[in-house]
């Protein structure tokens, strides 16, 4: 059994004696007898390091992760440079907590400041917070920003948002006193006419681009429609695509949110990822959670601090902008390292590679008999294919070939994702396997 208690039995006895005590029980005397646990926890006995490694290996070996994969839908496999895990495992970052003591935490504060700056540059915004849990909760926090900034209780949400993002919004909305109006899609894109018809009195609109079908939305027109009724535009963005696409800030979005997972963070069965939130200057003080700011010490040395803290729960309590305390700092730092290492050219190359490979795959799949793309709008790295063959049959057939296919959306439609990780050989194998299914 491992123990991380360094004090020996003798040392513990000596510590008790220094307090005039002879047993631990005397320190626990405030716990009423009626609530004391008088039997050992029903858990297996402790294990040595080697045994724990073996046990966990047993779990890990039951997962299958070594096949080519064409599945995204909110979690994306991209290349992760080795420096990211190396730097993120430095004990000074890994084992610190929220940088409350600024002088002793300048490294983490600056790393977060740089993350905020990088996110702002990526999204074309003026300000960013230090992260929230994930893209879905970032969208939920953006809903609260819209409510509080406009004092309106209705929010438009596009059905083009990822299912989990919509699900989280539906969970949060009734608690926040918000009514969600779900905007349908037309030809796979957020129905602009429906937005216009419902924008009056709405706090804003949340829409994704690329959306849940991989299609690129007309954020500028959606922004205009909500702005015409003094609502706010929240763009849910995919960060890699911003290496190529116009930035939400330039398209009229007031708030940009999304999940930073594609920026160097492993899939890890859904988490931990990182939710980013960026906004225009006038909404800076409405951002939830931690925000790092630059200032100076008494000698004029540049210094970083947690700022705008009076909005936060530890001061404002029930009147805080959000309850968030712990966020996803280390994941934010990983995303920061990714953006710094890739640089503008690297990010554009990743985006270009995803775009080219996805279109190479889409074109070949759509050329197969009985298969076609469901939508005609421009897409980035995900696309929907429909066919007369059931999605389940396709999935099983690909499985038989050692390929993780796209995500079944329903019985006839499959959402494929192709990234820079998929080689031409893999794509060709996918197409060949699908060809067999069609035959």
């Amino acid at each position: 059994m491992r123990s991380y208690v360094p004090a020996t039995r003798e040392e513990r006895a000596r510590m008790l004696a220094s307090m005039g005590l002879t047993s631990m029980e005397e320190l626990l005397r405030d716990i009423p007898e009626g609530v004391r646990l008088r039997h050992p926890l029903d858990l297996p006995g402790g294990l040595s390091e080697k045994e724990v490694l073996a046990a966990l290996k047993g779990y890990a070996d039951e997962n299958v992760t070594d096949r080519p994969i064409f599945r995204g839908a909110g979690a994306y496999r991209h290349f992760i440079p080795a420096i990211i895990p190396a730097l993120a495992s430095l004990g000074e970052f890994l084992t610190a907590y929220t940088p409350y003591q600024f002088e002793m935490s300048q490294g983490m504060l600056q790393a977060i400041f740089e993350y905020q700056s990088l996110i702002a540059r990526l999204t074309g915004m003026d300000a960013s917070n230090a992260s929230v849990y994930d893209g879905a909760t970032a969208a939920a926090e953006a809903m609260l920003m819209c409510r509080d900034s406009t004092r309106r209780q209705k929010l438009l949400v596009s059905r083009g948002l990822l299912p989990d993002v919509l699900a989280v919004l539906r969970t949060y909305a009734p608690c926040a006193g918000m009514e969600l109006v779900e905007v349908p899609l037309a030809e796979g894109l957020t129905d602009l006419a429906a937005v216009k018809a419902n924008a009056e009195g709405a706090a804003g609109l949340i829409a994704a681009s690329p959306n849940c079908y991989g299609l690129i939305e007309d954020i500028a027109s959606l922004s205009d429609a909500v702005h015409a009724c003094r609502g706010l535009m929240v763009a849910y963005a995919e960060p890699i695509s911003l290496g190529l696409l116009k930035k939400p800030g330039g398209l009229g979005a007031d708030i940009a949110v999304g999940d930073g997972q594609p920026l160097g963070i492993p899939l890890s069965w859904g988490g931990p990822y990182v939710g980013f939130m960026a906004t225009k200057q006038r909404l800076l003080r409405s951002l939830p959670g931690r925000v790092v700011g630059e200032t100076a010490d008494a000698d004029g040395n540049r210094a970083y601090v947690l700022t705008l803290q009076a909005r936060e729960q530890h001061i404002r309590r029930e009147k805080a902008t959000s309850n968030i305390c712990s966020n996803q700092s280390l994941c934010a730092v990983m995303a920061g390292i990714y953006m710094t290492a890739m640089g503008p050219r690297g990010l554009r190359e990743v985006a270009e590679s995803c775009l080219q490979k996805a279109h190479y795959a889409a074109e070949r799949i759509a050329a197969l008999p009985g298969m076609k793309l469901s939508y005609g709008a421009p897409f980035f790295m995900e696309f929907v294919v429909e066919s007369d063959i059931s999605s389940g049959t396709i999935d099983e057939a690909l499985r038989g070939k050692g390929i993780v296919g796209g995500l079944s959306l329903d019985d006839r439609r499959v959402l494929y994702c192709v990234t820079e990780m998929n080689t031409r050989q893999e794509i060709d194998a996918l197409v060949d396997a699908l060809k067999e299914v069609c035959a």
């Binding site: 050992p40 907590y97 490294g107 977060i112």
Partner: protein, 478 residues
């Protein structure tokens, strides 16, 4: 380290450098795949640095930071215990698993989730657990949503609008209650630092949805009246919520489920030794008694013949609170920790945490004011109130110069000049002694020369930053 500025990545940028590459395109390149109006003229203005520069940049930043690996970190309510490296290794084995993988390809992750949930049920005395919440505050919100869903299903939500929160509570409690749509009613603490029973009785009624409580509380004191407190709230038709931030005091000693609590959240990054990552990621699983289980976030992991599966068919579930299934990588680390220690080891950890806290409190009792005159649990609160002119902030800055991360200061709000000390079980007595010596030395320095502490810290890259400037003219991006 003396005063120094570390240039930002943008200041270190040189045109045309880069720190990472990807494979050359192996498919035929096509032009104009996207309409020109969708494309930005230039990629985002990210810095341009070589791989070596990126390594040095972040390594340099790391040297301007303090973690548990560097030294003592008795930050109250945060449980800054040692983070075993083994757990980092095992977590990485799950890094490649896509969250939407077929259940047949994710049996290991599903089984681990199932087993961790069972272990957390046993540790807390609850009947069901969800790993979906991403952090403690997120767990609070989720737990309150369960309470909300229960009252709503009984048609009582319109009436049960209030959540009671002690004045000593973590700020997340009232903030979470407000976010869950409840009205917050503050309950004062009694003279002994616990919940004032008369005030609680007066506050409880037909409008009570529940009470949020930390036990031991933020003064590090066990609520001796916990069973009475739970009865009062239950008799009013409310639920009792356990803020698990302080669970490290009682593992294997007492369980929230046996104290009358109906819902708990845990902080895996505190009690179960997963690294805090400079502020996250954490993980905030929520546990509950059977009568609330049907409301837990969906999907839930179920064990069926032939294997484990995700069950999303949960008609009364509050829904999802996060994408996918939570901060799974953090859960893997916590599970490895539980397997390492076993039931006996968890109890030993809690006992040692309580011993360490009491040891320090006993040694510092003469020098500083102790908020309560009884044994503490895993943490306690000191105050400089007995020392004219000395502030908790000055003491904190003096500790920094001695290589020690300061305690949590100015919390709980009910103690003036508060310093909340939580040593954890993973520190040996010589580290505790050195901390006590530093605390006594700082007091002596102040008494010999009032104001002497005002210039601390001297050993850090920067002196005390101007927070007023930062908040008046916020500069949050560079």
């Amino acid at each position: 380290m003396s005063r120094s500025v570390w240039p930002t990545c943008f200041e270190k940028s040189h045109p045309d450098r880069r720190g990472a590459d990807i494979p050359a395109l192996d498919v035929p390149v096509k032009e104009n795949l996207l309409p020109a109006e969708l494309l930005d003229d230039a990629p985002p203005a990210l810095p341009e640095m070589s791989e070596r520069e990126v390594m040095r940049h972040y390594t340099g930043l790391s040297r301007r930071n303090h973690g548990v690996d560097n030294g003592f970190y008795p930050l109250g309510s945060c449980t800054m215990k040692y983070n075993p490296r083994m757990n980092e290794v095992v977590s990485a084995w799950f890094g490649g698993l896509h969250p939407l993988a077929d259940a047949r390809d994710a049996q290991g992750a599903l089984r681990l989730t199932y087993d961790l949930e069972r272990a957390l049920c046993e540790i807390t005395g609850m009947d069901a657990v969800s790993l979906q919440p991403a952090a403690g505050a997120h767990g609070e919100l989720t737990g309150l949503m369960l309470i909300r869903a229960y009252h709503a299903r009984r048609g009582e939500l319109a009436k049960r609008t209030k959540i009671l929160v002690p004045d000593s509570a973590h700020g997340t409690n009232p903030a979470s209650a407000a976010m869950a749509g409840f009205e917050v009613v503050e309950v004062p603490s009694g003279a002994d630092g616990g919940v004032d029973l008369d005030a609680l009785r007066a506050a409880c009624g037909e409008d009570t949805a529940g009470l949020m409580l930390t036990n031991p509380n933020t003064l590090g004191l066990f609520e001796t009246n916990i069973l009475t407190i739970a009865d009062i709230v239950h008799n009013a038709g409310g639920f009792v919520y356990y803020d698990g931030a302080n669970l490290n005091a009682v593992m294997g000693i007492a369980r929230p489920g046996d104290m009358g609590f109906d819902v708990v959240h845990l902080n895996l990054h505190k009690t179960f030794a997963t690294p805090h990552g400079g502020g996250g990621p954490g993980s905030g699983p929520v546990g509950c008694k059977a009568r609330l289980a049907e409301f837990l976030p969906a999907p839930v992991v179920v064990k069926r013949e032939g294997g484990y599966a995700l069950d999303a068919d949960r008609p009364f579930s509050i829904g999802k609170v996060k994408s996918f299934y939570g901060n799974f990588g953090v859960c893997v680390r916590a599970y490895a920790y539980i397997l390492s220690l076993g039931g006996e080891g968890l109890k030993e950890a809690s006992e040692a945490a309580v011993l360490n806290a009491n040891y320090i409190m006993h040694k510092l009792r003469g020098a500083y004011k102790v908020a309560a005159d009884r044994p503490c649990m895993h943490e306690f609160v000191l105050s400089t109130e007995n020392i004219p002119g000395l502030t908790a902030n000055d003491v904190a800055k003096g500790l920094i110069d001695r290589g020690i991360h300061p305690p949590t200061i100015y919390f709980p709000l009910i103690v003036r000049e508060a310093m909340m000390v939580e040593p954890t079980e993973t520190e040996p007595p010589e580290v505790l002694d050195a901390f006590c010596d530093a605390m006594v030395e700082l007091k002596a320095l102040h008494e010999a020369n009032p104001g002497a502490l005002g210039e601390f810290p001297l050993t850090t890259p920067v002196g005390r930053p101007d927070q007023t400037l930062a908040a008046r003219k916020p500069k949050v991006v560079g």
